[in-house]
Each structure stands twice: as structure tokens, then as C-alpha cells.
């Protein structure tokens, strides 16, 4: 989206959030900026209408006039202050409301995006939408936008008044403004250019620090501290060069503009007095008359106007980079909001049921029995009991065009069976599991769940029927209980305890400071890896779905916890259809069927004994002749 379009959309959306408020804000801004500008005008009026005549005719002659001016000042300033009070208070709310809307819209969008998005973008990049981009937008909405509008309005007022007074002098100020803009874009451009490279070199420094922190133990063991310092210094020095230059340009802009303004002021004074002295005819919207007659006040107030004028131009040039940054952030946010959500054309749903005389009847209350409700095109409605029978037939898949990841893969998993997937990293084990719950869409072939093509099943219902225990356990902040109940919010306390017991997690949970109510700080950092796995098993047990996807952890946990985890897993697997990405041979050995995968194909299949007999790849893996990951 172009900058202009982004700005337009931002303003439009802000306006639409609260039309009345925005209109009031705009009117208030007009009053506020008129007030600011009127200081110069009042000086002109006081000089021309009060001081000058009074010097000739004495004070009493202008007393009434002066009183009128005073009243006018009070009225104008009261309006201006009221305006400022109004717009600042209203904008504080409108701005924050809008930011809140944006944050919520972003999060809601994010939750609805396909997994693809999360796999393709680094977590840091996604986070930066919420941190950097929303932050710049906040700056823009709470500060720059209003200030910018106000500055623009003031400039317009000033130009209007200047034109009213005198064309010649306005043209002169215009030339000054042009020079200032030129300087701003030159110096400002250089500054922002160097700021960019400064950001980049800071990134390099950060990357280096992170790498060294991560490898701190290695650095120390190899006594590489001095070398690390040297390399760090070099990067830090580059950053310094960029930063010093960028700031140099940034810092000088204001004094330079300020004093160009001063020089403009002086030149204007000279020009004005020459005009007055030589009685040059003045032309302005206020009329045509020789300078000498009534316009000394004009020259004086023009000087004051030109001062305000350059002040406002300085403001603009100060705000401009912030506005540019905010628009960059906003266009990234709008891009995120425009991404296509995961769509769901499924119509088969999962419902509670009871079985009576071999017939399935749908009920509202929870029965622990589930069925697929399948409306057909001809208006018929059929029910099929949820069993957990999964069949992949001739499935092809690719993440990116022309790079097949799965080739003609067929897997049959009947209710209660365990299917072990083995093979090297990248062989396609995880990909298979990604297709079953439709994190990704297959390219060719079919996946059926209880005989129903999974494309016809509503995604939430499909996923509800498939539990998952992943290597990366991802717990959420909240209590242990919240985490176990995560997949079934209405689970009773008894259910939670039951699940914890199934997973072998209940023992250690009881030893936590507050048992099930122990608050896990972010991402469960205060639990050991093994304990986190136990909780994630309990979470799956509590959700109680007939099909399970397990990705066994490879990270070494101690033998005792491992035995607990293993036992918990085994209990969880009982009576369920399980796809397991296996790393433990005991798991593999007990599987009903083992799929040995290589480069997206199933190269061997069978149970442990038959595969050992085959003396193929599985045999080599098993005897440790090949590395398995």
C-alpha cells in the first residue's frame, strides 16, 4: 500500500470509529491554531489602531478601541483554550480506542491465519507487528497526527493573513520557506539514510551479542574472551560511525532551520523598511495602498508572522520522519489484516449422541459419546459414530510449488491402532501429521476420518477430535489447572485430576506450592522439561479425543521422569488411534505398524518383527548402524 493510501485509510478509519468526536476535534483544532496565529494579528491591530493614533491624539481617543481589542483577545483566546482542551481530551480517547481496535483486530486475525503463516515467518517478525509497528502507530496517533494537522492549519492561516497584508512580502517569505524545505529534505534525507544503516549495524551487534551469550560456556571453556572482545569492538565501532553521523545530521537540522528563519526575519525587516521608506505601493487582499500610510503595523506583524511561520515549518520537519515511520508501521499492520484467513468449507459437524437400538440420536447434553452429523446434498441427514479410523490414500503434498514433500503416501490407521513414523529429519513424518488435522491442505489424494473426507468436516470439529502432544510443549500462562483444561473448558475438577493421574503428573503437581492452582509464569519456565511434558500429556488426556498425534521428545530428560513420561504416554495411547513420530525404540516396537520414511516416501512398512526380518533400512536403524533423529 502506498504511503498516501495508508494515510488516507488511517484517517478514514479514525473518522469512522467516532465521527462526531473527530468533527469536534477538527473544529477545535481550527480554533486552537487560529488562537496561536492571532498573537501576531493582535500586535498589528494594537500598533496600528491604538499605539500609533494614541501617540498623535492621546490615550483617551483610543480607549474605546483598545477596550474592544481586549474583549476580542479574551474571546479569541478563550475559544482557543477551549478548543485545545477539547481536542486533547477527545483525542486521548479516540486514539486509544482506535489503537485498541487495531490490536484486537490484529490478534483476531492472527488467530485465524493458517499455520503456514507461522511456519513461514519467524516469531520475532510476527512479534514486531505488535511491538514496533503498534508503537510507532501509537506515537503517530497520540502525538504526530494532531500536531501535524494543527501545524498545517496554522501554516494555512498564516499564509492567508500574510496574503491579506501584502503579496510582495508573502512571496519573499515563500522563498525562505522553499530554502528551508530544501535544507530539510537534504539534511533530513541524509540523516534518515544513516539512521537506517545505524539500525542495521545495531542489528549486527545484537546478533553477535546473542550468539556469544548463547555460546557463553564454549567461549569460556575455550578461553576465547579476548577474541570475542576484539570482534565485538569492530562491530561496535561500525555502529558508532553510523550513529554519530546519523545523529550529527539529525542534531544540526533544528539550529540550521532556526537560524535560516532568523536570517529570513532580518531580510524581511530590511525589505519592509525599504518599502515603507520609499512609499512603494502595497498590494494585498486588504487592498492597494502606499506603504507609508497605515502599514507600519503590517510590517511589524509580518515580522512576527514570519517567525511563527518558520517555527511551524520546523515543527513539520521534526514530525515528518515520525509520520513516515508510522505510515510504514501502519502499512505493515494493514498488510497483516489483509492476509487471507484459514477458510473452512466443511459442513460435517461433531455432536453429542446416544445410541439406542443400534440407532444414533443427537442430543444436546454431554454424553461422552460423539457422532459425525452429515447433511447430504439431497437433504438427508446421516449420523456416523466417532471412532477414530483414519485413512490416507495416495497423498501428495508440497509446501512450495514443484518441491514435493510427500509422494503417494498411503497409511491406514484403524481405531485403537498405533502407527509409528520413523525416518530422518525432513523425511516427512511431521508433514503427515500436519495434513491429518488440516494445518496444511493436501495436493492430491484423499484423507478420510471415519470414512468421511476430512475436507467435508468443519475444521474446529476435526481438530477437536484429534489430540496432540508435541515436542515443544508450549504451556500458557495461567494455573496448572487452566493448562490441563485447555482443550475442554467445561472439564470438572474431577476430570482434571483424572487426566493428571493418567499422565502421571498428579504426584509432582501435588508437590507444587499451590497444587493445581499453581500459577505458571510465562511459558511454564519454572517447571522442568519433563514436568512440562507430563502436563502436556495431561492436557491431551483431558481433551479426550479418539485420535492422537504424538511427537516424542528427543531432549534428554532424566531416566526417572522419562519412565514416568513413557508410562503416561502409554496410558494415554490406550484405546486411541495414535500417530507417533517415534524416537524411542520401545515405542516403535510396540506399534501396530511402523512406517519407515525417506524423502517423502514410505519405503518400508510392517510391524517390528517383520521389518527386522526384512533386514532393510529399519534393521539398520535398529542396530544403530544409521543415525536416527
Amino acid at each position: 500500500m502506498s504511503k498516501k493510501a495508508t494515510l488516507f485509510r488511517l484517517i478514514k478509519e479514525l473518522f469512522l470509529t467516532n465521527k462526531k468526536a473527530v468533527i469536534i476535534v477538527f473544529i477545535s483544532l481550527i480554533f486552537a491554531s487560529a488562537g496561536m496565529m492571532s498573537i501576531s494579528v493582535f500586535i498589528q491591530i494594537i500598533i496600528d489602531d491604538a499605539i500609533m493614533p494614541a501617540l498623535d491624539a492621546g490615550w483617551p481617543a483610543v480607549a474605546d478601541r483598545l477596550f474592544a481589542i481586549l474583549i476580542a483577545m479574551i474571546v479569541v483566546y478563550t475559544l482557543a483554550i477551549t478548543g485545545t482542551l477539547l481536542y486533547t481530551q477527545i483525542m486521548a480517547k479516540v486514539g486509544q480506542d482506535y489503537l485498541d481496535d487495531i490490536r484486537k483486530a490484529m490478534f483476531e486475525k492472527m488467530e485465524s491465519l493458517p499455520i503456514n503463516f507461522f511456519d513461514r515467518n519467524s516469531h520475532g517478525d510476527i512479534m514486531s507487528y505488535y511491538t514496533n509497528d503498534v508503537d510507532t502507530l501509537r506515537q503517530f496517533i497520540t502525538q504526530s497526527l494532531v500536531q501535524f494537522t494543527m501545524t498545517m492549519l496554522t501554516l494555512m492561516f498564516i499564509i492567508g493573513v500574510m496574503l491579506y497584508y501584502s503579496f510582495i512580502l508573502t512571496v519573499f517569505v515563500g522563498i525562505g520557506a522553499f530554502i528551508m524545505f530544501k535544507v530539510t529534505s537534504r539534511v533530513g534525507g541524509k540523516s534518515s539514510e544513516r539512521f537506517k544503516s545505524q539500525q542495521k549495524s545495531l542489528g549486527a551487534v545484537e546478533g553477535y551479542i546473542e550468539e556469544m551469550m548463547h555460546g557463553q560456556r564454549v567461549v569460556k571453556s575455550f578461553v576465547r574472551e579476548e577474541k570475542a572482545k576484539e570482534e565485538f569492538d569492530a562491530l561496535n565501532e561500525t555502529w558508532y560511525d553510523d550513529s554519530a553521523t546519523a545523529r550529527h545530521y539529525g542534531n544540526i537540522l533544528m539550529p540550521v532551520l532556526h537560524n535560516i528563519g532568523n536570517i529570513l526575519y532580518v531580510s524581511l525587516a530590511i525589505l519592509g523598511s525599504i518599502l515603507v521608506y520609499f512609499n512603494v505601493t502595497n498590494i494585498g487582499f486588504s487592498g492597494i495602498y502606499p506603504f507609508s500610510i497605515a502599514t507600519i503595523g503590517i510590517v511589524v506583524s509580518f515580522l512576527s508572522l514570519s517567525r511563527q511561520f518558520s517555527q511551524n515549518i520546523r515543527m513539520v520537519s521534526q514530525q515528518a520522519p515520525m509520520v513516515a515511520m508510522a505510515l510504514g508501521g501502519a502499512s505493515r499492520i494493514f498488510y497483516l489484516l489483509s492476509l487471507e484467513e484459514e477458510h473452512d468449507e466443511g459442513y460435517v459437524t461433531l455432536v453429542n449422541c446416544i445410541e439406542e437400538d443400534g440407532k444414533i440420536r443427537e442430543v444436546d447434553e454431554e454424553t461422552g459419546e460423539w457422532a459425525w452429523k452429515h447433511p447430504h446434498r439431497d437433504g438427508r441427514l446421516t449420523y456416523r459414530k466417532l471412532e477414530g479410523d483414519i485413512v490416507l490414500s495416495n497423498v501428495d503434498f508440497q509446501y512450495v510449488e514443484d518441491t514435493p514433500v510427500l509422494k503417494d503416501v498411503s497409511v491406514y490407521a484403524h481405531p485403537g491402532q498405533t502407527i509409528a513414523l520413523v525416518g530422518e529429519t525432513g523425511a516427512g513424518k511431521t508433514t503427515i501429521t500436519n495434513l491429518i488435522n488440516r494445518f496444511y491442505e493436501i495436493k492430491d489424494g484423499k484423507v478420510r476420518y471415519d470414512g468421511i473426507n476430512i475436507n467435508k468436516i468443519k475444521k474446529p470439529d476435526l481438530r477437536r477430535s484429534i489430540g496432540m502432544v508435541l515436542q515443544d510443549t508450549s504451556l500458557f500462562s495461567g494455573t496448572v489447572r487452566d493448562n490441563i483444561r485447555y482443550g475442554r473448558k467445561d472439564a470438572s475438577d474431577a476430570d482434571v485430576i483424572e487426566a493428571a493421574k493418567t499422565a502421571n503428573a498428579y504426584d509432582f503437581i501435588q508437590h507444587l506450592p499451590k497444587g493445581l492452582d499453581t500459577d505458571l509464569s510465562a511459558d511454564g519456565a519454572n517447571l522442568s522439561e519433563g514436568q512440562r511434558q507430563l502436563i502436556s500429556i495431561a492436557r491431551a488426556a483431558c481433551a479426550n479425543s479418539p485420535v492422537l498425534i504424538l511427537d516424542e521428545a528427543t531432549s534428554s530428560i532424566d531416566t526417572r521422569t522419562e519412565a514416568l513420561v513413557q508410562e503416561g504416554m502409554n496410558r494415554l495411547m490406550e484405546g486411541r488411534t495414535v500417530f507417533v513420530i517415534a524416537h524411542r525404540l520401545s515405542t516403535v516396537k510396540n506399534a501396530d505398524a511402523i512406517m519407515v520414511m525417506d524423502h517423502g516416501e514410505i519405503i518400508e512398512r510392517g510391524d517390528h518383527d517383520s521389518l527386522i526380518e526384512e533386514k532393510g533400512v529399519y534393521y539398520q536403524l535398529y542396530t544403530g548402524a544409521l543415525e536416527m533423529e
Binding site: D100, R217, S273, S477, G487, L585
Partner: protein
């Protein structure tokens, strides 16, 4: 706090002093402008242009001087603040390099990175402000007051009334607003953490179909933040009408009263014949107004600087706390710089990571290892194996007893000497960006390629290295993503061997290597490096069964020791572990 930070100014002292000096000069040049402009205006009013050229020249000269000084001030403050930030970052980094692990355990990686990035940038911004604006604003205020008084003292009294009133207003606003903003930024951080959790756990969210639940939770948090922000913003923006009110009242009074004075010598004359309310010309009236605006404007600026400094002080506090952190482990006086051999002994060693900890991590450890022996240490996670070996290279100091290497207490060695003699291959292997050869050469930067190849062969890494398109010159990607776990481990072993250590410690560092290769690595070590002491930590019995001595650890103690055969008979834990692993055959993993 400031003292510690000031130490980082160092070679930028000159610039740090020049910047405010030039800023002050700029202010001086600038402050005279309105005064002289008043003369100019009065000339115009009097329609007398005889002095016009001189006055204009003075004005332009002053403006040029102000421009030049402003330029220099900006330049030097850029150098000073960037240099200061560079030095702070450097000091932090150097300090980290010097710290021991017991210090290090107290800080997370992200905290350290934040100290060197965000916090340093905050301090830099504050410093830049300090050397420029923080001086400029008060100077402007003071000089403007002086100038105003020199024009018309009586009329200027109004400024003396307005300034403290507005200051009080600004102060009160910030006093109440800053705590709100602190709180809301804290909540904001939490919200971001929550988002991060969701990004990381998106598969779990989707699997358990909890999108709607997460949205509701987020909504509540976001709205809470919004409400706080509105409260804070509404308070802060009161500054603006307050400023305008003061400004307009002052301007109106000055303008009206000023014109009275100009025309009337308002208030009559005193005994000496001087006007009581002073003298004023029209030009001076407009200068007074300019000075008044400068005063009030700069006062607002001071308020903003005040806010900046609250942000700065939080960052500065965090940085100094870190700079004050001193290493717990220091070189002894007269350190020993030669390690005789690879003998290792533990005598009655007790150890825990923090003084406050209740339980010992290691209790009553006694062992003695002869040079060249192969030693196995076995036991579950958290039983103290890794702690035990980290004492050998003195990553930590013992609390009781002593650890000796080559017959000498490790605390008597020069730390670098000791660590060079002890090579540790760690559980989590870290490779660095660079080529494969670069990574192996971490052990010895000047090693010739033959030496690199030799250790790679012993570590069974040579063959797979050669299978990369560029062999030893093949780059390792950041985080080592282009080699498998087992390959990574073998490169790390090679790297450790290149150091020619007297003692090699492998901390569960072959668990991703297949059993056959693992066996040949052990054989290679035994035949090629017979004098090097080899300590192997593992959870697999298979990795240690051919060791000369095996120690079994449990709950921080060595519970059994002996050879594979004797342990199978005497040690319950060893038997149990062995049996459990036999079940999965030793092909496990």
C-alpha cells in the same frame, strides 16, 4: 549510579564538554536577536533607515554565529552521545566476558541483550538531550528573563509570576501521570509476552480449537491497557491548555499594559523624574512578547526532558547494576601457569550454586583419576554430573573441600592455563557462524589444516566434512542448522581436541551419534591420545561400559564406583539403568 556511568565517557570527554559549550554560545547569540530586532522595528517605525544597514549586519552576523554554534553543538553532541553509548555497550560486554557462571546464572540472555541494546539506546538519547537541550532550555529561560527585565523590569514581573505557576502545573501533571504510564507499560509488556506465547503455541491453540478463548482473553487485556492509557493521556494533555492559558494571559497583559506604557508613561513619574512603570518602545514590546514565548516554550521543553529522564533513570539503573557485578572467580596472585598432567582429584567436595540454596548439589565427593584414564560418570539429570565436571575447569568454586588437577588445587592456577588444559564438550553444542575449519580452529587459531584434519578424523567427522561441497571451508549457518545433531556433536569433539587438552570431558556429547560411530570415536581417543584423561558423562550405559572406572551418581553423591563388570554386580542403580536400556537394546535413540 551516575558515577559508574560517567566512567564510560572516557575519550569523549572533550566532545562532551564542547557540545554544551557551543550550545551555550548559540543561546547567547540567539538571545540578543529579539533585542536588536526591537531596535530595527523602532527604526522602521520612526521611518529612519540611517542605521538600517549596521543593525541588519549585526543581526545577520548573530544569526550566522548562532547557526555555526548550533551546528558545532549538534556535531559534538552526536559524537559524544554515540561514543558514550559505544563505551557503555563495550563495558557491559567486557564485563560479561569476565564474569563467572555463578554470576551469569542470575541473568537471562535476553536481559543481557536488552541491557546492551534498548537500555543503552535510552541512555544515549538521554545523554544527547543532556548535553544539548537540557542545558539549552534553562539557559534560554534564564537569559530571556534577564533580557525581558533589561527592557522593562516592571512589566516583566508578570513573567516571574507565570513561570512558577506553569512549572507547578507541569510538575503536578507528570507527578500523577508518570506512575500511570509506568503501570500501563508494564501491562503492555505482559500483553506482548502473552502474544508471544500464542505465536509459539499456535499449534496447541489450533489443535484444541481455542482461538475464540484466546481472543476473549486478549480482548480483556487490551481493553484494560486502553483504559489506563486514556487515563494517563488525559492527564498529560492537560499541559497543553494550561500552557496556552498562561501564554495568552501573559501576552494579553503585556500587550495591553505595554501599549499603555508606550503611550502614557502609565503610572506617572517618581521623585527622580523617571517613569514608575519604565520606558517602552513599540519594538521593545514585540521583543518582550518573543522573550515571553521563549520562556514558556522552553519550560514545556523542560517538562518533556523530565519525562525522558524518568525513562533514562530506569535504564541507567539496570545498566549500572550490571556494571557493578563483579566476577566471583578471580585469578590468584602468583598463579601457576603450567599443568603437569591430567590427574584429577576431588577431596571432600561440597558444592551448591547459591549460598541461599538449602540443598547441596554435590555432597562429600571423593575421587581420584590417573592421567590417561578413561572415566565414565553415569546418573540421571539433576543428579550432579554436570556440576561435578564444571568444577574441574573452575567454572564454579567449591564451597568445601578441594579439586585438584595435575596435583595442584585448581584455585592456584592461572584461569586461562587451567581452562586451556581442560576441554569440555557440552551437552548443548554451539557452533558459531563461520566455516567448518573456523569452528574447529576455536581450539587453536593457528593450527595448520593437517592438525585440523587429524582431530576431525579422531572425532569421526572427516568423512562427512568431505561430503560437503566445500569440505572444510563449507560455511556453518547461524545456529548450525545445516549439520545434523550428530554431526554437530562430532565437530564439537574435534574442536575440543585441537586444544590438545590434558583432560577431555564429554558431557553427554555423543547422544545424537549412532552407537557404532560413538564406539570408534572412543577407540580413536584411546589409541591416538593415550596420555589425555578422558571423562565421559552419559545416561547410556553403552557409552561408558569400556571405561577404566565408572562413577554412579545419585542425588549429588557418588553412590557406587568400579568397572562395568563389578558395578553390574554391586550397584543397584547401575543394574537398573542397564536393564532398562537393554530393553530398548543399546540401539536406542
Amino acid at each position: 549510579m551516575l558515577k559508574t556511568l560517567a566512567r564510560s565517557v572516557r575519550e569523549y570527554k572533550r566532545e562532551s564538554l564542547l557540545a554544551p559549550l557551543f550550545v551555550a554560545l548559540e543561546v547567547v547569540a540567539e538571545i540578543f536577536l529579539p533585542l536588536i530586532m526591537a531596535v530595527l522595528i523602532d527604526e522602521i517605525l520612526a521611518r529612519d533607515i540611517t542605521n538600517l544597514v549596521q543593525i541588519s549586519l549585526v543581526l545577520v552576523l548573530l544569526a550566522m554565529m548562532a547557526l555555526y554554534f548550533g551546528y558545532l553543538g549538534g556535531k559534538y553532541s552526536a559524537i559524544a552521545s554515540s561514543g558514550f553509548a559505544k563505551n557503555i555497550r563495550k563495558d557491559i560486554f567486557y564485563n560479561v566476558q569476565g564474569l563467572s557462571f555463578s554470576n551469569f546464572d542470575r541473568y537471562s540472555h535476553t536481559a543481557l541483550v536488552t541491557r546492551m541494546t534498548t537500555d543503552t539506546t535510552n541512555v544515549q538519547n538521554a545523554y544527547d538531550l543532556l548535553v544539548r537541550v537540557a542545558l539549552r532550555a534553562p539557559l534560554m529561560i534564564i537569559f530571556s528573563i534577564i533580557m525581558a527585565f533589561s527592557i522593562n523590569a516592571q512589566l516583566s514581573l508578570i513573567f516571574l509570576l507565570a513561570l512558577p505557576m506553569l512549572s507547578l502545573g507541569i510538575f503536578l501533571v507528570y507527578k500523577y501521570a508518570i506512575p500511570i504510564f509506568r503501570r500501563v507499560f508494564d501491562k503492555y509488556d505482559k500483553l506482548n509476552k502473552y502474544v508471544q506465547e500464542n505465536i509459539k503455541g499456535i499449534r496447541v491453540v489450533k489443535t484444541f480449537v481455542q482461538e475464540e478463548y484466546e481472543k476473549t482473553r486478549f480482548k480483556a487485556r487490551s481493553e484494560d491497557i486502553r483504559d489506563d492509557f486514556i487515563k494517563g493521556e488525559r492527564l498529560v494533555v492537560i499541559n497543553q491548555p494550561a500552557f496556552q492559558f498562561t501564554l495568552y494571559v501573559v501576552m494579553t497583559i503585556v500587550a495591553i499594559a505595554g501599549s499603555y506604557i508606550i503611550v502614557n508613561t502609565f503610572g506617572g513619574y517618581d521623585a527622580a523624574g523617571n517613569p514608575i512603570w519604565g520606558d517602552l518602545s513599540t519594538g521593545q514590546l514585540s521583543s518582550l512578547i518573543i522573550y515571553g514565548m521563549q520562556m514558556l516554550g522552553n519550560l514545556m521543553m523542560l517538562g518533556m526532558i523530565f519525562v525522558m529522564f524518568t525513562i533514562f533513570s530506569a535504564s541507567a539503573r539496570r545498566i549500572t547494576r550490571f556494571l557493578h557485578e563483579e566476577s566471583d572467580i578471580r585469578n590468584p596472585e602468583d598463579p601457576i601457569t603450567h599443568v603437569r598432567n591430567g590427574a584429577v582429584a576431588f577431596d571432600d567436595v561440597y558444592f551448591k550454586y547459591t549460598e541461599e540454596a538449602e540443598n547441596w548439589v554435590l555432597k562429600d565427593i571423593n575421587l581420584s583419576i590417573n592421567p590417561g584414564e578413561t572415566i565414565g560418570i553415569i546418573g540421571g539429570t539433576g543428579m550432579g554430573k554436570s556440576s561435578l565436571i564444571s568444577l574441574i575447569s573452575r567454572l564454579y568454586d567449591v564451597d568445601r573441600g578441594r579439586v585438584s588437577v595435575g596435583g595442584v588445587d585448581v584455585r592456584d592456577y592461572d584461569i586461562a592455563t587451567l581452562r586451556n588444559a581442560v576441554s569440555v564438550v557440552l551437552q548443548n553444542n554451539v557452533l558459531f557462524t563461520g566455516t567448518i575449519a573456523d569452528n574447529i580452529r576455536w581450539g587453536d587459531e593457528d593450527a595448520p589444516l593437517e592438525a585440523v584434519e587429524r582431530v576431525a578424523r579422531i572425532a569421526c567427522a572427516h568423512d562427512f566434512i568431505m561430503s560437503f561441497p566445500e569440505g572444510y571451508d563449507n560455511p556453518i549457518e547461524q545456529g548450525g542448522t545445516n549439520v545434523s545433531g550428530g554431526q554437530k556433536q562430532r565437530l564439537c569433539i574435534a574442536r575440543a581436541l585441537l586444544k590438545k587438552p590434558k583432560i577431555l570431558i564429554m558431557d553427554d556429547s555423543t547422544n545424537a551419534v549412532d552407537t557404532k560411530t560413538e564406539r570408534s570415536i572412543r577407540e580413536g581417543l584411546r589409541t591416538h591420545l593415550p596420555d589425555m584423561t578422558k571423562i565421559i558423562i552419559s545416561q547410556r550405559v553403552g557409552s561408558v561400559e569400556d571405561a577404566d572406572q565408572i562413577f554412579v551418581m545419585d542425588q549429588g553423591r557418588i553412590v557406587d564406583s568400579g568397572t562395568h563388570e563389578t558395578l553390574l554386580e554391586t550397584s543397584d542403580i547401575y543394574q537398573e539403568t542397564h536393564a532398562m536400556q537393554q530393553l530398548g537394546d543399546d540401539a536406542d535413540e
